[in-house]
Structures are given as C-alpha cells and as structure tokens.
C-alpha cells in the first residue's frame, strides 16, 4: 500500500494536462516609473505580466490628501491586453499614490500600489 502511494505520488505530474501559459498578473513596469520623480504626467500606464479582464481591472490615483485625481475610467489597450491606462487631471507638485486592482484572464485577482512624485 505504501509503495503504491509513493508510485501514485511520483506519477502525479505525468498525469497532468499540458500547461496553459497563464499566471497571476504582476506589475511589470509603469509610466511614470515606480518611485520616480517626473514632470506632471497626463496619464498613468501600467504593463502587467498577463492579459487582463477589462471589466474588473481598475486604477485609482490619489494625492497626498487622499483626493482622487484620475480623469476617467481605466481602460485596457485592445492591442495589448496586458496594458492598463488611466487619464489624469492636471497634477500639482507633490506625491501621488497609484492603487491598481486587476483580474487576469485566467481569473486570478491581484492588487498593489506605488507612488510617484511630481517635481516643482
């Protein structure tokens, strides 16, 4: 019985179906870059490691008083579904927090945040 259990455990990976190339959507890079100091940007664009479900992927950008400064809803680029974009209002100098929450096409939900600074 024990030997059979081991054989079964050892054989398990061989019984699995072929992998699909999907995973949790992690933030790959951003514009403005994570932690950067930049002139006032007109938008925030995030690139993820996986394609996103547009209806369940959002970006919020808040100033240091917690006031939302995005000028519209976040949209997924139809040509690159791993790219999420949100327009911004005119930004004054200061530090801004970008909070993202996305659903990858394989239904994994991830979230995160980072800051950037608008220089004087």
């Amino acid at each position: 019985m024990t030997r059979h259990a081991y054989i079964l455990a050892a054989s398990l990976p061989l019984l699995l179906p072929g992998p699909s190339a999907q995973a949790h959507a992690h933030l790959d890079h951003a514009t403005p870059a994570v932690g950067s100091t930049v002139p006032a940007p007109k938008s925030v664009t995030l690139w993820f490691s996986e394609s996103l479900e547009p209806a369940f992927s959002t970006i919020e950008v808040r100033d240091d008083k917690g006031v939302a400064v995005q000028a519209g809803k976040a949209t997924v680029d139809p040509a690159n579904r791993a790219e999420l974009h949100v327009p911004l209002k005119s930004l004054a100098p200061g530090t801004y927090k970008v909070m993202w929450r996305v659903l990858s096409v394989d239904t994994h939900r991830t979230q995160g945040d980072f800051t950037f600074t608008v220089g004087r």
Binding site: L16, P19, H24, L27, T110, Q111
Partner: protein, 327 residues
Amino acid sequence: MSNRHLFAVLCGTAAAFAAPIAYSHEIVGNRMFPVTLTIDDPGVADEISLPTISAFKTGDTPPVKELDVSGEFSKRITEDFGVSFSPTWTRLYAPGGPVMTGASGFQNLETSFKYRLYKNPEHEFVMSAGLEIEWGGSGAQGVGADRFTTYTPTFYFGKGFGDLPIGWMRAFAVTGQIGYSIPGSRSNTTFDTDPDTGDVTADTEFFPRVLNWGATLQYSMPYLKSAVVDLGLPDFVNRLIPLVEASLQTPVANTMTSGTLTTGTISPGVIYVGDSFQVAVEALIPVNRQSGASVGVIGQLHFFLDDIFPNSLGKPLFSTASATPKR
C-alpha cells in the same frame, strides 16, 4: 557494538535531524511570500515541489553523509484550507567508505492540513494554523523512519514591511512558524543478552516532544521594483529574493534520553521567481556540532499549479468565490 548495530543507530540519529522540505507560496496585497525550503511559508496554495534535493553531513560521530530527495504536492480543498503530501527518499552513505554499504529508502510519508486564519493585504500580513502528520511505519526503518506516528500542530505567519516609511526597507519581509511535535509513542525498550556474562540487558529510548520553530528574513527584488522604486535593473535581478532561513528543534518534554539541546540549521540563499515556478538554492549551516558536521546544500524546483492549471488542478475543489468577481 557491531558495525551493523552502530550504523543502525547512526541512521536513526540522522533521520531525526533530516529536514522535511518544501512548501507553498502566498500573495498578500503587494507581497508575494515565496516558497521557503527549511520551514513552511504561511500560505495555502495549489503547487508542487519536484524535486527538493539536500546533501549534508549529520551530527553523528562519525558523521553520516545524507542525501534527501523529496517532493510535495499541495492542494486547496477550499480557498483557505489545503492538504499536502510529502514523500522523501533518503540515501545514507556509510562512514569510512565502502566497508559498510550504507542504506537507502523512503522516510515516513508526511501529510499536512493547513487553514488560513487571517489575511490583510493592506498590511501584508497573513497567518495560518495546521496539523502535520508523519505516518509511522510508512517508511523504511533502515533510514531511521519511526514506527510510530508523530503529530505536529503548527502556527504560521508572514509579515511584509511595506508599512515602513523608509523606501528600500519596505522590500523586507519575515515569515515564521512554531510547532509542537507529539510522538505517538513515549518510549521503546529493547532487550539484549550480554555476550560475556549472559545477562539480559534492557535499553530504553524515550521519544521527546519537540518544539519545531523557525523564521525567515527575505528581501524581495520583485517587491522593490513593483512597489517601491524601479531601478531599471536587469529582469533576472528583479526576480531574485535573497533570504536567510532558520529551522530549529528543541526537545521540551520526555527528554530523559534525548537531552534538551536545540539543533537545526541557518540557511542563507536565494530564490529566483518565475511567472509559474521558482528555483531556490541555500546553504545548510548547522547551528552546532550536534546539528551537522559541515555545511550542506539544499536546492528546489517548485511549480505554482494555480498559475499553470488555473481552471483545473490549480483551483480549490470547493470554491466559495463568486463566479463573477465584484468590481
């Protein structure tokens, strides 16, 4: 004492220090707690470690060179509750070379049940509780597998330092575990006949209750890049998590023959995190002579089944999540 008898004793001692291995990853807000090698991480996930390989010299006198090859399959039953199975194959090399042949075989099969008690994405904090069972008699006595079952209730936690105001320090995280191993047998007495006098002698070994405790300190380059500052480093560097693990065992009860000395290892190393797998290698540095005779090494290849098979093997058997996520 005959060579065979001596070797059997060494095997038993070696197995007592053998590190059971391999574990699960957890994502909490910005933080991904990777799979660690010598202690379990605080998460519940669908994944497989295949293989985990370690080589080291035990703390016996003379030391025994031990090679362990193990695997672990972890499966979520619900979103927060999972079970895992961990077979380990051991090869013990006889001291002094080819005079004695050594031994090999499977250790006792281990099964773990774990429940995630609390998860706070904002503060990158997670804690879980579990029960680890080593099934007595399922392994080979020649490599020291016990004939009795051992139960280890265990508490796990993980905390990322994302709350800290100092930017680069936010990439640090700690994880830890503390468990209490309860053997299913208190002692074992063997009888022998003295070859000189003919008297019958009795030798009793007491099986101690052991505190299994450990922690890791990690520095996540993926976290630094995605949540603190993107330094424009090469992608390979941005996927590394250097860390140090401590895995310690302290006998605390029924210690008449075992003593109460703490043994274990400190393990500095590095993990490379891919999209659906990770590769790790660490040194195994014994904390004292009783823990090992020299520095060993451990390596692991690990796959995230929830990423590779998101719609089949990689999801909980019973999902409480809504089919349509809330916006």
